[in-house]
């Protein structure tokens, strides 16, 4: 038992330790996101979650490797002191899978936008669920190609007016969560970029998931596609779900188009019975057992 007095001593020490690790995860790079951009919150959340894993002694800072796409979201590469590749547009997912082929022991996190993964890299998005590598995809969905000044993406709502489509978007948006489920996803979650506590919780669960974990972050862009913003009122938290038929219902609740209805956030589906890429391939399994990548295979 720790008495009240001791508690008050221990707590700040832990807090300082944590913030030291969080600090180590940052860089000196000047931040160029617009003031107030939700990407700041996502960055903070990632740092806190990764720091916690490090502080708990589960992983070292060097065990993490990230890939980022190209876009506003992808600037997170410069702000995280973690190994990684700042990839070509659309290719953050296959590059990350490649890292796992090269060293299955790496803890890999991928950051991609809705333009990046649902448009340019959609084939990789679908196949990632099939391969099921043990890694995490953080998908920054602001329903806009923001870094290229606000063109519509596959999740932009009908009627969205932009410089590139002044007649308005004719098509209904795709539903990437439905697509993920249809592609045999083993982990699908959705979070709200405004709720860092919930985001921390879900990111940690995603990283702990044994297989490909997909977390869609609903985030506003403060400059482009303003009509898509402020969906908070529609969001509600769900319990972690492992039931497939419930998942099928949940992924259908939000169509990315209307401002009506509900947006479930939390773990929408998880299935840990499906073997991961690293478990399926004997070569990777053996590297995992030795705790090395190919570079250390002869050790």
């Amino acid at each position: 038992m720790v008495n009240e007095e001791e508690k008050s001593v221990i707590k700040p020490v832990i807090a300082i330790l944590k913030s030291e690790t969080v600090k180590k995860l940052g860089t000196q790079q000047e931040n160029t996101w617009c003031p107030g951009c939700p990407n700041f919150v996502i960055l903070d959340s990632v740092k806190q979650v990764v720091a916690k894993f490090i502080d708990e002694g589960k992983y070292k800072q060097e065990d993490f490797a990230i890939t980022t796409d190209i876009g506003c979201h992808a600037k997170i590469f410069d702000y995280l002191n973690l190994s990684g590749i700042y990839c070509l547009h659309g290719r953050a997912i296959p590059t990350a899978i490649g890292m796992k082929l090269g060293n299955p022991n790496l803890k890999v996190l991928t950051f991609a936008g809705d333009g990046a993964a649902y448009s340019e890299g959609i084939s990789h998005f679908i196949h990632a669920f099939k391969y099921n590598p043990d890694m995490t995809l953080v998908l920054h969905d602001n329903q806009s190609f923001s870094l290229t000044t606000g063109q519509p993406t596959p999740t932009s709502q009908q009627g969205f007016l932009s410089k590139s489509e002044p007649l308005g978007v004719f098509d209904k948006p795709i539903n990437p969560l439905k697509l993920a489920l249809a592609s045999n996803a083993t982990f699908i979650a959705r979070v709200n970029a405004r709720d860092i506590k919930h985001m921390n919780e879900i990111f940690a669960k995603a990283i702990n998931h044994k297989g490909f974990s997909f977390v869609e972050v609903i985030q506003d862009c403060l400059i482009f596609n303003l009509d898509a913003n402020h969906k908070d009122k529609m969001m509600y938290k769900i319990e972690d779900n492992t039931d497939l038929s419930l998942a099928e219902k949940l992924v259908g609740e939000f169509d990315y188009n209307s401002k009506e209805g509900k947006i479930p956030i939390g773990v929408i589906y998880q299935n840990e019975k499906i073997p991961s890429l690293e478990e399926k391939w004997p070569q990777l399994k053996s590297l995992m057992e030795k705790g090395v990548g190919w570079k250390g295979k002869d050790l």
């Binding site: 790079q29 060097e62 990839c87 899978i97 490649g98 790496l106 570079k295």
Partner: protein, 507 residues
């Protein structure tokens, strides 16, 4: 001595088995063989043929005119009878109607007898190829017994092995202990993938087939970044798709080796035939300016050595190395008694994630590995890429065999060629007053090439493409335009007899 045998039939009839058996028996008997495979893009039916050339001295080509035609079907007779030499023999399935699926084995037996090779050599080959099959042996013997001896080949003491270019690339990669091979199926690169995949677990490597070539090359960059010796394989269209990632290699400096096997383009072109028309894209694919190495082996022995060199150089200079081959090299079966040069072994020594914090980017970066748009750094990084090219060039010029000179070294008649065309050129000039300069490093180019060109009185360029791509490259680098060009671009490689006739006219 040079005997050419055409073996033709419908896809699925097993013509490859005939050339397989005959060339194995012959190589164990000390003879050199070369087997050209000609087949359309279909799985059953149609018309396939092989040309098996046999010689008592090394050969790497086949002829237009045949000593024998072995026809498993009527269409072979119709299509090829005009290629039979005066006094040549047509072997048909007549008398073998009952052999069923072993018709090919029977015809192989028939050929072995014609060549005058003892029955026991045929028997041991059949036994090793068809472990438990009595039927195969009976058919082979039946074929043997029906034939009449036309030649009396004496046993020779050459120690010969048979290899295709694809097997060779795979051997070279394994000699350098490649870890990860990534490829999406596309003729004629697929055989390397199949070769590597065969015993991947025992060979301690991994072969991955991704959803498309863009995924494949992206994965390769990730895998290499993580410390694995990594290679991707593809053909023209797939290579085009990889273009942007080659450029990504250029800026990030993540080592990457690409195996590019050409076929006639543009577009889907003529998928199962051959062409040397992808030199231009090998040299230039990918936006921006960045260093690279392009190496074009001409036969399997070179393919083994050059694949190892490509992997070594990619890692050493953190650069892009492209091994440029084509269908003719990839799928023809060559025989050789050459000894391999010693492989330079290497390990990945750079820092990798898991050990250190390492960053790589598709953006220009500063010293911390983070992105930058700074003018001074932009210029400096570009200069560094040029310096990298200069230093790899210096290393290659000093350490690697970049060209080969064949034929009469004192001749003033210089023939220039590269890649799979080299075999036919080497064989065609055997009794001509000509020297053949075979270019193996297409980038960087050997400084010796210019000297050779300046010293020659008469230069002929030989290539399998319509614009003379090596010729254009040499003109760019040496200022010398080659006026005499022998270009073939019908999807078929040069036959040695046709090439020799052309060269004689031009010399």
């Amino acid at each position: 001595m040079n005997i050419n045998i055409l073996i033709g039939g419908a896809a699925g009839q097993g013509i490859n088995k005939v050339s397989d058996i005959v060339s194995n028996v012959l190589s164990k008997y000390g003879y050199y063989t070369f087997n050209y495979r000609d087949y359309p893009s279909l799985i059953r039916g149609g018309h396939n043929f092989n040309v098996l050339a046999i010689s008592d001295i090394p050969i790497e080509s086949h002829s237009l005119k045949m000593d024998f035609i072995v026809a498993l079907d009527e269409r072979t007779i119709e299509t090829h009878k005009s290629e039979l030499k005066k006094g040549g023999v047509l072997v048909t399935s007549e008398g073998f109607e009952d052999e069923g699926k072993n018709l090919n084995v029977a015809l192989a037996g028939f050929l072995i007898k014609i060549l005058g090779i003892p029955l026991k050599n045929l028997e041991s080959e059949i036994n090793s190829q068809f472990k438990e099959s009595e039927d195969a042996l009976i058919s082979a013997k039946k074929g043997f017994d029906k034939a009449e001896k036309k030649f009396s080949l004496k046993k020779l003491n050459n120690k010969i092995s048979i290899l295709s270019g694809s097997e060779a690339v795979s051997i070279g990669a394994r000699n350098s202990s490649l870890d990860v091979y990534i490829a999406y199926p596309m003729t004629p690169s697929t055989n390397v993938m199949n070769e590597m995949a065969k015993n991947q677990v025992e060979n301690n490597l991994m072969v991955f087939q991704p959803e498309n070539e863009i995924a494949g090359v992206s994965m390769a960059l990730g895998s290499s970044f993580a410390g694995a010796k990594t290679m991707v394989g593809t053909s023209g269209g797939g290579f085009d798709l990889m273009g942007e990632s080659l450029s990504m290699q250029g800026i990030s400096g993540i080592p990457l080796t690409v195996y590019l096997a050409s076929r006639p383009g543009p577009g889907t072109g003529v998928p199962t035939y051959t062409s040397q028309s992808d030199l231009d894209i090998a040299l230039r694919a990918g936006h921006g300016e960045f260093p690279r190495i392009v190496i074009a082996p001409g036969n399997p022995i070179e393919a083994i050595e050059k694949t190892s060199e490509a992997l070594l150089l990619s890692e050493k200079f953190r650069t892009l190395s492209i091994i440029l081959s084509d269908k003719h090299l990839a799928e023809s079966e060559f025989s050789s008694d050459e000894k391999l040069k010693k492989v330079e072994r290497f390990s990945v020594v750079r820092d990798v994630p898991g050990e250190k914090i390492v960053k790589a980017a598709s953006y220009e970066v500063d010293g911390t590995g983070n992105s930058t748009e700074d003018a001074v750094l932009t210029e400096k990084n570009a200069d560094l890429r040029v310096e990298k090219y200069e230093s790899l060039k210096e290393y290659i010029v000093k350490n690697m065999e970049m060209i080969k000179i064949h034929g009469n070294k004192d001749s003033k008649n210089l023939i220039i060629g590269w890649g799979s065309t080299s075999g036919a050129i080497k064989d065609a000039i055997k009794d001509l007053d000509a020297k053949f300069l075979q270019v193996m490093y297409m980038k960087p180019l050997s400084p010796q090439i210019k000297e050779e060109m300046e010293n020659a009185e008469h230069i002929i360029l030989v290539e399998c493409n319509v614009t003379g791509q090596l010729g254009r490259l040499l003109r760019e680098k040496t200022g010398i335009k080659i006026e005499n060009r022998l270009l073939k671009y019908d999807g078929r490689p040069f036959c040695v007899d046709e090439l020799k006739e052309h060269l004689k006219e031009m010399l």
